[in-house]
């Protein structure tokens, strides 16, 4: 459970990649959002890859929160249109995802936990959305936004990172990380 230096470095490197990807999604955001606000919820999961993938690989307490925060910082440093608000989103999403892993004492990384983590990240995003202006919108908009965020989070922030992590594991490059150790013991 104790963090090793290589866990930290791999977290940062992967979070940087995710942050770069987030910056690409940022361009989609105003277009989707302008058309219909809740539809943004459907895409939200794409911003939760870091807080799913990284804890899935390194399996350390705090990994989801830190990874999402760093990814948000990178996204912001790359010139995201959200400014420092980005960090607040990152914080809320990271806390949401972290709660799911904490519920299982950071020992369970099954598909169910992963999906729950993605959905809770979606809840975090929805709460931020509410305080960032969602409270001025119609109630149904806010509700749909949350519902879609949770579903999208479970898919893009839960299943996708798991598939990615498993593929990396099969490629044999994660042997020295927690995911490699756990799966090896089972086998």
């Amino acid at each position: 459970m104790k963090w090793k230096l290589r866990d930290v470095v791999v977290m940062v490197i992967l979070a940087v990649v995710c942050g770069g990807i987030y910056r690409i999604w940022d361009v989609l955001y105003p277009l989707v959002n302008t058309a219909w606000v809740p539809s943004q919820g459907m895409l939200n999961g794409l911003w939760f890859i870091a807080c799913g993938l990284i804890p899935y690989i390194i399996r350390r307490p705090g990994a989801a929160l830190l990874a999402e925060l760093i990814a948000a910082m990178i996204e912001q440093a790359l010139g995201s249109q959200f400014g420092l608000q980005n960090l607040i989103w990152g914080l809320a999403q990271g806390v949401g995802a972290e709660v799911a892993f904490a519920l299982f004492f950071w020992r369970n990384y099954s598909i169910v936990t992963m999906m729950l983590s993605g959905a809770l990240a979606g809840l975090g995003a929805s709460i931020t959305f509410y305080f960032q202006g969602g409270n001025a919108y119609v109630g149904s908009t806010v509700f749909l936004y949350f519902l879609f965020s949770a579903i999208s989070g479970a898919i893009f922030g839960g299943i996708l990172p798991k598939l990615l992590g498993d593929a990396l594991h099969r490629a044999g490059i994660l042997r020295n990380f927690a995911i490699g150790k756990v799966v090896a013991k089972k086998g």
């Binding site: 105003p30 277009l31 420092l84 608000q85 980005n86 305080f131 001025a136 598939l163 593929a167 490629a171």
Partner: protein
Amino acid sequence: MNQLTSSPLLTLENVGIWYEQEEEPIVRDVSLTIDEGESLLVMGPSGCGKSTLAMLCARLIPQSVEAVVTGTVQYDDKLMQPGQIGYVFQDPDAQFCMLTVADEIAFGLENRGLDPDLMPDRIQYALQKAGLDVPFDALSAMFSGGMKQLLGIATALALDPALLIFDEPTANLDPLASSQIFTRIAALHQERKTMLVIEHKFQALLPYMDRVVVFDERGQIHRIGEPATVLVQEWDWLVDHGIVSPFMRNPFLPEPIVRLKQKTAALPKAKTGDTLLTLRDVVVKYGEHTVLDRLSLSVQEGEWLAIVGPNGAGKSTLLQVMAGLEKPFAGDILLTGKVVATMKPKDRFTMLAYCFQNPEYQFIFERVCDELANRFVGDEVPEEVTTLLQRFGLEKAAKESPFSLSQGQKRRLSVASMLRKEHDVYLLDEPTFGQDAKTMQAIIDQLAGRHQDGKTIIMTTHDMDLVMRYATRVVVLSEHHILYDGDQAGLFERPDLMKKAHLRADEQVDTAFLVTRQDHEVRKPSNRIKKTPLQRLHPSALFLTFLVATTMAMFASQLPQAIGLFIASLAVIFGIGQVSVFAFLKRFWPFFLLYILYFFTNIANIAPPPGTHVTHFLWYTLSVYGLIKGMTLSIRMLGSVLFGILLIDAVDFTDLVIGFCTDFFVPPQFAYGTMAGLRVVPLFSSEWKKLRQARQIRGVEKTSSFLRVITYALPILSQGIRMSERVAIAMEARGFVGVVTQSAKARTFYRRLKIHFDDYLFFVFLLFISFLCLSWL
């Protein structure tokens, strides 16, 4: 040579090393002593465990790299302190964790707890010893591979280590840069530093080595002895086991020059046919930087063309331009008379095959056999694939992931998949790069076969032996131009040209030339001349202050409140931040359109209170109430963006991260781990580009499935993961272990960061203003 010492520095007795999950030990029955003042050369085929043994000697195994060690290992007390064993790694990019040269060298000193006042002198001393003449604030990411390795040596020497380990330090370097490193090793030998050197290109080092240790492929020591004895007696064994290539000359058995010339002349004359590829006045630019300048060249059918020249001369770019992977800024490229740019990629890549320097870019599938077949083949591996697998010695790995292969296997796989179909031209970027003699021979034999069939081969390489033996024509590229174009014999008669193109490794390095070349690349004016009031604040405190202000701004629900906060942030950015309005607008304008959309979204969706006049437009509801509310939200967001831009502009990144460690209780492990991770960011953009090119060659299927995304992400992620492991090991080798990783108090800091009264003042000031705006307006 051993009479100088009484007791050995390091003793290994019957040592075996197992990696978890491996069936066989990687190193077995190793008994070896290293005496003080001794230089030891280690050689053996790739995968024989040389690096593993070196990591054991450096005490990185089993502390940093987990492995089971059997037998006895005895370290002298001198080696027990952290940082007392200097380690120079193979990959120049994966051994640093800081941005500037001074921070990098200071990192090891900080872990030792050296007084920061003494650090500048030690840094200067280390740079001098390593022969690296660069300013303290030079960014190591801008360095050439050779300079990075010299910096690696400097970081080790700063700690005055009792043992220095070089793990194939020149594997990624051109001949000249390699000889720079060898010159350093020779100098260190003269000072009687204890050294363990692993090196494939060992010839130049032999005079400076006291003993040679030869490993076989099972990880056992085959022979230990003085270089002259071992190489004379074991030469044939070394050739047989693929440690030296068959066309390499034994340095202890002088071969008459005449025979060399005969060798070259004995090659079959090139059966050249029609013109295949023509480049006319090709110019390639990356931004402002010209890579190729009005270059013209034509290649005949049946030629074996070698493109040589120093690192960074544009060899790979030239190859990419030929394949149509890189678009020239000006000029034409004709392939059998047709303009490459207008050819369909499919037609182009039926004619030509391309092999990247990093084999991983080419891998699309999750299994070696699918990769070779270029489609998913299931459990029944087709016969033609099996034949290919056998020919390249990959039959055992058929069902494994291409990414899990060894470096040599990966390279063989990428060449094998390139040779799967018949092509007219084979373009290869450093096909023998980082390979042992055996893999090299396997690849070259295949290429030679194709060449015999009349196919054209174009390759970039640093390996002059290879050029001499196989190429029918050499093009020397240096400083964006062709310096030489003709046969090898002519080139070897022009020592001036060879020197200019960094092709000679056998003579003293012309340091004067080197320094001037480094000068204009590295010596950029220092940007820390004048600090604005904001830059004098503690960066981490500033960051947190802005974050708190942004959070408070979330509670601005009325337009006047939002405007008030916005004016306050403008005052901070232009007043205290002293940002020029023009520079700000330049940064800001790309967001403008986005804000209009955002603004509209707010107006169109905001729920007006009952009884408000509402206009319906499409599915939106527009109202004056919504307009005002929308403005409030948009302005609030703008304020957050202002702070964001200000932070990027004003704050020194290293200070920000390290500041969290010195003053905000973030453990050094997290702060320095973050620095190390961020250091590799610039590498990703170039990786991404190459990956896209590789996919273009393979002719990626149009069906974009969910899983396709994953295979696309694999090479980049796996590169990142491997890199982070290496960086972490390199950091631990420099004494970043134990309590110094957990507590800032356990180590010293080269950068002096301290929270002052001003920092508190600014925090209180910004919070007070925000509070005023929220409560009064």
